[in-house]
Amino acid sequence: MAERPLSPHLSIYRFGYTMSLSILHRITGVALSVALIAGILWLLAAAGGAQDYGRALTVLASWPLKIAFALALIAQVYHLCNGLRHLAWDAGWGFERAAAKRSALIVIAAAVVLAAICLYVAFCPAVRS
């Protein structure tokens, strides 16, 4: 059989920073799938009653899980912001190179600001009454 054409491999392309947003969208997506499991476990613990919930909380309040929660929050904010950018592309907007580069910077800026606000509210006890 004749050699069939292959789509170009990723390493062929010159690196552009918009690529990192693309792969980050994937990584945060997979991370959020894992976070979804944790979220459902949290719901089950809440349904199990005060005692179960208390036991789950001792695990949830440990430092590794606090860091995981913070990372999940950052991933959620980024995936949401960049997801809106993808939806705009799907609607046919912002496909030009300059527009895609500009929207990439907007997404990074928005994600950093929103994630910082969320983390501040989540971890600064004075804000949560």
């Binding site: 997979v30 809440a46 208390g54 904010v77």
Partner: protein
């Protein structure tokens, strides 16, 4: 020369017979998850998560169980479609690919069932 029938070409469903439904549902669930996830983040950030009574009271309040149920269903569906694309891109051995996809389907279905069960349990406790 194409071996596809004229009807097949008109329906534009391709060789897998389901056309663009995967792509399309991924986008629809994404669109629905935009307001749902913003609502959920804000609600969770305002909730005293350490207090079981306030957490269950919030879950059971008003239409919250409805929107939480929608979130569980749509987030799992969107996650299932996304993980499927990732697995198909990176796992090449046919047996391992099929096994991973089946495992992902099973886990996502289990998450939907468990999430909806937990929500109903909390929301209907007062009514029972």
């Amino acid at each position: 020369m194409s071996l596809r029938t004229p009807l097949s070409r008109v329906l534009n469903h391709g060789a897998a017979h389901d056309g663009v439904s995967h792509w399309w549902i991924e986008r629809i669930t994404a669109l629905a998850l935009v307001p749902l996830s913003v609502w959920l983040i804000i609600a969770l950030l305002r909730l005293p998560l350490a207090d079981h009574a306030s957490v269950t009271a919030w879950i059971a309040a008003g239409l919250n169980p409805v929107f939480l149920g929608l979130f569980v269903l749509l987030a799992c569906w969107h996650s299932h479609l996304g993980i499927q694309v990732v697995v198909e891109d990176y796992v090449h051995a046919p047996a391992l690919k099929t096994a991973t996809l089946l495992l992902s389907s099973a886990v996502h279905l289990l998450l939907i069932a468990a999430g909806l069960y937990a929500l109903l349990h909390i929301a209907l406790r007062g009514a029972a």
